[in-house]
Symmetry: D2
Subunit: 134 residues, 4 copies
Amino acid sequence: MYHHETKIRVRYAETDQMGYVYHGNFATYYEVARVEMLREMGFPYKKLEDRGIKMPVLSLKCDFNAPTRYDDLISVKVTVTQKPSVKMFFSFEVYNESNILLNTGEIVLVFLDANTNKPCRCPIEITELFAQYF
Amino acid sequence: MYHHETKIRVRYAETDQMGYVYHGNFATYYEVARVEMLREMGFPYKKLEDRGIKMPVLSLKCDFNAPTRYDDLISVKVTVTQKPSVKMFFSFEVYNESNILLNTGEIVLVFLDANTNKPCRCPIEITELFAQYF
Amino acid sequence: MYHHETKIRVRYAETDQMGYVYHGNFATYYEVARVEMLREMGFPYKKLEDRGIKMPVLSLKCDFNAPTRYDDLISVKVTVTQKPSVKMFFSFEVYNESNILLNTGEIVLVFLDANTNKPCRCPIEITELFAQYF
Amino acid sequence: MYHHETKIRVRYAETDQMGYVYHGNFATYYEVARVEMLREMGFPYKKLEDRGIKMPVLSLKCDFNAPTRYDDLISVKVTVTQKPSVKMFFSFEVYNESNILLNTGEIVLVFLDANTNKPCRCPIEITELFAQYF
């Protein structure tokens, strides 16, 4: 297991008229968290696309525990739950500044060769980065 | 069980640079589908909010089977899977014009009293609308 | 001048906690309006991209006259204000169901050759479609 | 005149299939920039809403000079161009890490009393914060 934490400030554009963050926007928060995790590990997601690999989402799951509000500085804790192979499994916990658990989630991505659109192995550099955690 | 189907045209704004619909936008497609279902049944969601009831999302689940692309005219099939009480359970299937299943999903909403922010019973008119289907 | 009108239902996802449509979302409404206009004329924008032409936005201007709200069925009136050449000029008026003018806008797009990323002439079919209006 | 600069990392969700940031998303970047400016000055926008004042947008203008791309770390330079009164005038310049000017914009907001929905004077604390710059 590998853990990482990113802070995100909730934007006005992300709220809805209920006064909460619109539920679909958590997909974006999860994206930011896993991208910042990969950047910190030294392998930005952009580099992956530059090398002809893309990572579409296979499944997304969110559970909403408490309202997330405008201007909250949320902490998105991301965990890589399995050793990356053809797929990559992430889980998420989102907290506000009062350390209230707002949201939990899971996401599964797949490595795709951008030329063939076929699933492919996780690049060796990423496998190596995660090797010590599993 | 109650079924309804809505057609939605994919917008450019909803795609990402992978050339697919960004995965978080399916939450919005599901929203449109259940709102149009309620409208057709004669009880628009807006009327619910005007009466002091709001329906935040408790959980969201999406599985992605095939890429959804710009300008696709998708069919979002929504099913109310249980008799509405304090919660309301929906499932979704999204098809493109070639009748390929692109995406399936589930969502659970809760009826909240907007004054107290406490869960409340589904309004009687909605219970009655669905009574014949369960 | 060429006029066209499209109806769009405001989505919950498009509102913000002020209870209005978030101002940035008018860009998307304008997009839908000009895409539906081209579709109705017989030349969908998608066909343009399939032929190796893309149309990025050069400038965007919006004036907000009255609040646009959740579930409003808005009419977006689009006008092509000049004969298309390397650029294409659109203006927009957005009305609600009470025929209140909510918003006006202008947008300029440029035809780009997707291979060279250089500006190019408007395809002849589009020039011909608009010839009678200028 | 008062200047401030905010850095924003472009998200995947903000791109479209052209491989650029979708033009409507600059409204959100401008929002982040002016909110961070007010926060740094000691008067967060949230505090304004908590005090019963809201600031809807009256007009928005964007000019696109060069493509903004995924993962760009953009600098949004915001300038308050006039002394705040009933309205507040902002202009924006957006640069990428190579210091290329990607986008310029202008936005006008109005102070509204949230109870009456009528325009109102800028709160005295904000007037005082800006007094030295005009």
